[in-house]
């Protein structure tokens, strides 16, 4: 029992993971709306909890922004299989899929203490994912202008790749990244495909038209893939390290951002 009330550090759910400069917790597999509520709880209690990184995997779910066409996805199945539920989230158009075998990281971080630069924060998340991948033997890369982490064919120059390369599968997406900022605190974060069935992604990609190929750590490495829990421990470490580069309190409040 803590002396301080409300969701302070010791009231955070889940198993603590080692991470410098923030509190990382492994939550195992939880439903999407529960995780959303949890994020909201922690965001509001941020003054007490400090920066938090939640690591987890979701039950299968499609999430769609306000422009998304959930009705296509939520239609009753013809073959008797359970439909994948659809959650609308208050964000821009993208529809995406989360499910078992995908490591989801929700970063509840005070952006105000980090120079308020949202793009920089996205880049730091990418760095954290890339270094995590590197420890798993996968060479992840940034693809300029396309937030997320990608894996390209060996010897490819990612900077020169275009839609066609994507369509031909020469560059594949391994992690999606996206955040929302409420009250100065970030929410959401990254979703890293570790070892999962990619089929559900196909339902949200309009045919050969978009052509984003998804991939997983398991597909990109010949060897065995550690458990999601182990990858979470790794990611806690790496993401925390990446975020530490802009962490308080050294910043000059007046702003001169590097």
């Amino acid at each position: 029992m803590s002396v301080a009330r409300a969701p302070g550090a010791d009231e955070l759910p889940g198993t603590p993971l080692d991470a410098e400069g923030l509190r990382a917790r492994w939550l195992g597999r939880i439903g999407y709306s529960l995780a959303t509520a949890l994020q909201e709880d922690i965001r509001r209690a941020h003054a007490r909890t400090g920066d938090v990184l939640l690591l987890l995997e979701h039950e299968p779910v499609y999430t769609t922004g306000r422009g998304g066409r959930a009705e296509h996805l939520a239609a009753p199945p013809s073959d008797g299989a359970a439909p994948v539920p659809v959650e609308r989230i208050g964000r821009g158009g993208d529809v995406t899929y989360h499910g078992p075998g995908q490591l989801v990281g929700y970063a509840l971080v005070d952006l105000r203490a980090r120079g308020r630069d949202v793009h920089r924060f996205l880049r730091e998340l990418e760095t954290g994912v890339i270094t995590t991948l590197s420890a798993l033997g996968v060479r992840g890369a940034r693809w300029p202008g396309r937030t997320g982490v990608w894996v390209a064919d060996p010897d490819a120059d990612v900077g020169r790749m275009d839609d066609r390369d994507m369509q031909l599968g020469r560059i594949r997406k391994i992690a999606s990244i996206g955040i929302g900022v409420r009250g100065g605190i970030t929410m959401h974060g990254f979703a890293l495909n570790v070892a999962m069935d990619l089929a559900p992604f196909a339902a949200i990609v309009p045919c050969g038209l978009v052509g984003v190929r998804m991939t997983t750590v398991a597909r990109e490495t010949p060897g065995p893939v550690p458990s999601l829990r182990e990858v979470a421990a790794l990611a806690a470490h790496q993401v925390a390290a990446a975020l530490a580069s802009s962490a308080p309190p050294e910043r000059d409040p007046a702003g001169a951002v590097p």
Binding site: E59, R66, P83, P85, R88, R120, G180, V181
Partner: protein
């Protein structure tokens, strides 16, 4: 008057997209109150107004983009001062102090603050159209707030923060526990709290769940159903006689892919008319034999294409910059209309399937297209496509190539038309085929031979029944 401008949310930000207005024209806004959500890259951020007054004009519709510094809204401070630019500010204060906050902000107080992250934003009742707000502004937002909370179904995720839910205040539970209880269909009144002062915790709810809830729906299904009830806000914005409908992801990708295709692939078109009388007869015979599933003309076209592609590997190919890639697999994309666009599910290994197997698989794909339930194999790897608009009584048309494929076949309707047979005018069933070719891969003569081969197979439809296709 004060102009609110697109704020700079990052050093590298050049423009931002209006994700959602949190105020409407005519609403009162206080400096420091949330005005808009802005998206830049993959981040969306709440932004506060830095001016107080009545929102005179929202310059951009939701979904529109503006460069940093551009005016996005005009606020009338009612102070008679001239217009000055005020940048919208990213929300700064997590715990606003009384001093920093202007005296009264009734709208925010009445709204559950968490709503934007989970709810489809505004119900039709709450959201006036832009046309409607050019009427005299009504600065009192109170009735609207109550109307909104009365009409919008409250999803699980927001019920937590709302103080007086149907469960009442008598039960002490953490917001998380409430949410979880909602999600799992657990009645909090029947749960014993083990937290401080008998507060119900997440664990209590989880344990209570072990006892099956009475008549509770599976959590996932219930969640999905709730969302489906929610009104769609995939809205259009009317202004000056123009209704702007923001592009869905599918429309945006169709726009981009088709433009790329027309720009990069030099198209040319070959048209032929197929005498379908024998195919009509074959179909009638299969029907009389009660072959299941029933075979359509389009299935015959698919089969003919598969066999022809096996014979003409240079058509089953794609342009790859410094080479032409010939593809071993014969995978035929079937252009399929869906609500807001087009899907191209793929018949994989089509040359290895007989006619009835093609019919069966095509049917499964069509069903999946209707329900949106695809596997990755269903949508990827097409090497050739067929688009059929015969059901819309289209006689003939030309299709746009679906890159990187080198050819697509556009199929018209099968119906009785005048036809010349043995030097005499007759009436017969015909169907037009128009093949679009990527000239970088296929030349006219080669395309012509391929198209003639398809025609020959359809005019001699016994070929469609032979194992492994017809002889060359």
């Amino acid at each position: 008057m004060a102009d609110v401008t697109m704020p700079r949310l990052s050093d590298t930000m050049e423009e931002g997209k209006i994700l959602r207005w949190l105020k409407r024209e005519g609403d009162r806004v206080e400096a420091g109150e949330l005005l808009v959500e802005v998206e830049t890259d993959k981040a969306d951020m709440e932004v506060e107004s830095s001016a107080s007054g009545v929102v005179q004009q929202l310059k951009l519709a939701e979904g529109e983009t503006a460069p940093v510094g551009a005016v996005i809204a005009v606020v009338d401070a009612g102070d008679g001062t001239g217009r000055k630019a005020v940048s919208a500010a990213p929300r700064q204060a997590a715990q606003p102090t009384a001093a920093a906050k202007p005296p009264a902000a009734p709208t925010t107080a009445a709204k559950p603050p968490a709503a934007p992250t989970v709810l489809p934003p505004a119900t039709p009742a709450e959201r006036p159209t832009r046309a409607a707000v050019s009427a005299p502004p009504t600065p009192s937002p109170h009735p609207k707030s109550t109307a909104a909370s009365g009409t919008s179904p409250a999803p699980a995720a927001v019920s937590g923060p709302q103080p007086a839910s149907s469960r009442g205040d008598a039960v002490k539970a953490s917001p998380l526990a409430r949410t979880l209880a909602d999600e799992l269909g657990v009645d909090l009144g029947a749960v014993r709290g083990t937290g401080p002062a008998g507060r119900i915790t997440r664990r209590d709810v989880e344990q209570a769940r072990a006892r099956p809830p009475a008549g509770g729906a599976a959590s996932g299904d219930a969640g999905a159903a709730r969302r489906e009830d929610a009104p769609s806000t995939h809205g259009s914005v009317a202004s000056g006689g123009v209704r702007r409908v923001p592009l869905s992801k599918m429309r945006a990708s169709i726009a981009k892919r088709m433009t790329d295709s027309k720009r990069e692939a030099p198209h040319f078109y070959l048209t032929t008319v197929v005498d379908m009388d024998d195919a009509v007869r074959l179909r009638a015979q299969l029907k009389a034999l009660e072959v299941e599933p029933s075979v359509t003309y389009n299935h015959m076209v698919l089969k003919a294409c598969a066999d022809a592609l096996a014979r003409f590997p240079e058509v089953n190919a794609r342009f790859a910059g410094d080479a032409i890639e010939l593809l071993d697999e014969i995978n035929i994309g079937i252009a399929t209309a869906v609500d807001d666009g087009l899907l191209v599910p793929v018949l994989s290994g089509a040359n290895r399937l007989d006619l009835v197997a093609i019919a069966a698989q095509a049917r499964v794909l069509a069903e999946k297209a209707a329900t949106g339930r695809f596997t990755s194999a269903d949508l990827s790897g097409a090497t050739f496509s067929v688009s059929n608009l015969g059901m819309f009584d289209v006689d003939s048309f030309s299709a746009v190539l679906n890159p990187p494929q080198a050819a697509i076949l556009a199929v018209g309707s099968v119906k009785q038309r005048p036809i010349v047979r043995d030097g005499a005018l007759a009436v017969g069933h015909t169907m037009s085929l128009t093949m679009s070719c990527d000239h970088r891969v296929i030349d006219g003569a080669r395309g012509g031979r391929f198209l003639a081969d398809i025609k020959r197979r359809l005019e001699n439809p016994a070929a469609l029944l032979l194992p492994g296709g017809a002889p060359a």
